[in-house]
Amino acid sequence: MRKIYAGLAWIIAGGVVVQAAAIAFAFGGVLNRVSNGDVVDKALLESGGAGGSGELGFWIHGIVGGVVIPLIAVALLVVSFFVRVRGAKLWAAITLGLVSLQVTLGVSITDVPYLGLIHGANALAIVLAAVIAALRMRRTPSRTRAEEATSDAVAA
């Protein structure tokens, strides 16, 4: 369980890196289109294709940020209940909370662009929370192992 917990936490941290890369790729595509004389307007945004060669970046950012990371964050919280390491549940909950905030910010950026400032900073907070959660599996000595030892001693 500790390995699964740590693995999920590392995937979330890695996912955020993918997100940063994908959105930079996508906006590169938009700027490339515009500098080639194309026009990006609402009609193009709504029918897809605004990203030009970076269009895949928008798609990745949407799927990884809107589906993959939230699902893994939920899984991390579920797994945390089976890992007897101090702080496991707390850091899983913090990670999930930050991810929920991130998705909410993401879908509200069009309406309130200033939220983008928080969206970018919060991404780093998610990385931090996920890494702390993952590292806790290494540093803290397991209570589980101590309990197992006790019961083994009794059985023997």
């Binding site: 194309d38 307007d41 609402k42 009609a43 193009l44 709504e46 029918s47 030009g52 879908v107 309406d111």
Partner: protein, 510 residues
């Protein structure tokens, strides 16, 4: 060997997980729609809950009509009228007769690259249809190769319900090899378009569409010397004007007035502007009363909406550039001349205060029904599919309200956008007049629309007369939003439909 305590814990966890999974599966399966009729939608909050002080409840008790409650229960009774019987006069011979053949095909986009999409009579956009006000139009629609089936919806024309072309509500999607005849009277002169209303988010984007223009009964009514159609569509990321990735030129004598019929067939708002003044003659097929010059402002046309714009040709040897939809423009004037592009003005023409007021043909103050249509968004499941979906009055599809009306009712609706996106709301079969926006009353010409953009946080009050019996869709024309639940219906008392969605006919209107 595990201790009794550990065994107990194991069993408890097992029971908890099984219960959670079972409850989850049950909750998930309860969202599956299967085959359904729109008549079953909105049960439990049928107008009453959304009607104001003078709404449905009071109306229902005001008369002794025994069928008064039939509309709200959705039950079939002997007094019910089938949507298929709501037609134009079947005895009247057609004045305009057209055959339109739809194909799933490669669309040739002159000036750009071809895309896989849909054609009508071999091209996309399909042929521009022309009728004169009062004509009876008869269109035979043939589906040659559109595998999902297809229909034709007459966007903005207040056709009889049987001709509305919504798969699963007014007809079955026309299968490959099938045909369907649409008949309607061209009552209101103006600019309209036709498009498929079966899997519409794919088929409209893919090009199963075309323009239709209804000319005034007497040519003297025309407020222009020349006219041009500007149908905007994005094919595979390419902005086109009348199907071509290029600008157009209208050869006009100095001083001549050109009426440009701009049709926004895209999924988002289109901007229209020019360095020279222009006038907005009509919105969505309804004339603006005494339009004035628009200078230094842009006109915004919602997805699905149309606007007729008048531009005066400049003196000899010169041309005016009218930007239509951001990427394309029309040059008007001397065929040898050009005009440089102009940056888009930041200021938007406010149609709420454009033109001169004139009395309406009905009194919205004495409304028989008043409804709320509040758009928001939340996470959930629709048809077993998880997502961040649209809600109407706090409810998710198919649990959205059904707006019950009786023929002759004056209806007032408050439409509110509590979401972060723009929603071009389109009501079938009717034109609505805008009464106010965010509490500011309309102060210009009556602003009649069938497609109305609601920006985030905006609230509109609109009114219309329920004068066209049937079952009418009232949905967002950013068609992917309709797929994600932004669709409700206007239901006339005593009208029923035999058609279903997701059944054997494969009807998927959105």
């Amino acid at each position: 060997m595990p201790s009794r305590r550990e065994l107990l814990r194991g069993v408890a966890i097992g029971v908890a997980v099984t219960t959670a999974l079972g409850a989850g599966a049950l909750a998930w399966s309860s969202t599956l729609l299967g085959e359904y009729s729109v008549m079953a939608m909105g049960e439990g909050h049928s107008g009453d809950g959304y009607a104001g002080h003078d709404g449905h409840a009071e109306h229902g008790t005001s008369g002794a009509d025994p069928s008064a409650a039939s509309g709200s229960t959705g039950a079939v009774n002997v007094n019910e009228v089938d949507v298929t019987s709501l037609t134009a006069d079947p005895e009247r011979p057609a004045d305009v007769r057209v055959e339109l053949v739809a194909r799933q095909d490669t669309v040739d986009v002159p000036g750009g690259r071809a895309i896989e999409g849909y054609t009508v009579n071999g091209t996309s956009p399909g042929p521009e249809l022309r009728a004169r006000q009062g004509d009876l139009v008869e269109v035979t629609f043939v589906n040659e190769s559109v595998t999902d089936g297809a229909t034709l919806h007459w966007h903005g024309i207040d056709v009889p319900n049987a001709a509305d072309g919504v798969a699963g509500i007014t007809q079955d999607a026309v299968p490959v090899g099938g045909r369907h005849v649409y008949r309607f009277e061209a009552t209101d002169a103006g600019t309209y378009w036709y498009h498929s209303h079966q899997v519409s988010h794919e088929q409209v984007e893919g090009g199963l569409l075309g323009a239709i223009v209804i000319e005034p009964a007497s040519p003297t009514d025309a407020a222009a010397d020349l006219e041009a159609t500007a149908l905007l569509h994005v094919y595979g990321g390419q902005h086109t004007l009348n199907g071509r990735v290029s600008d157009e030129h209208v050869d006009a004598a100095p001083g001549a007035t050109v009426r440009v019929r701009v049709i926004n067939t895209d999924q988002g708002t289109a901007a229209v502007w020019s360095a020279a003044p222009f006038r907005v003659l009509a919105t969505d097929g309804h004339d603006v009363n005494e339009p004035t010059d628009v200078d230094g402002q842009r006109l915004l046309i919602p997805a699905g909406g149309r606007a007729d714009v008048a531009v005066q040709a400049p003196p000899e040897g010169d041309a005016v550039r009218l930007h239509v939809g951001g990427a394309r423009s029309i040059l008007i004037g001397d065929p040898e001349a050009s005009a440089p592009p102009t940056p888009q003005p930041a200021e938007t023409l406010d149609l709420l205060a454009y033109g001169t007021p004139t009395p309406l043909s009905f009194d919205p103050a004495s409304a028989d029904r008043s409804f709320d249509y509040v758009i928001a968004r939340r996470f959930g499941l629709i048809d077993g599919r998880p997502g961040n979906f649209w809600t109407i009055n706090g409810r998710m599809f198919p649990d959205v309200p059904m707006f019950h009306v009786r023929e002759g009712d004056v209806v007032v609706m408050r439409i509110v956008n509590d979401s972060g996106d723009v929603h071009p709301m389109h009501l079938h079969g009717h034109h609505v007049v805008v009464l106010s926006r965010d509490g500011d009353a309309a102060s210009g010409s009556p602003w009649w629309v069938d497609s109305l953009d609601l920006h985030p946080g905006e609230s509109y009050e609109i009114a219309f007369v329920a004068d066209n019996p049937g079952i009418w869709s009232d949905h967002c024309h950013t068609l992917a939003h309709a797929v994600d639940g932004l669709v409700a219906h206007l239901m006339y008392e005593g009208v029923s439909t035999p058609f279903t969605i997701n059944g054997a006919a494969g009807n998927r209107p959105e």
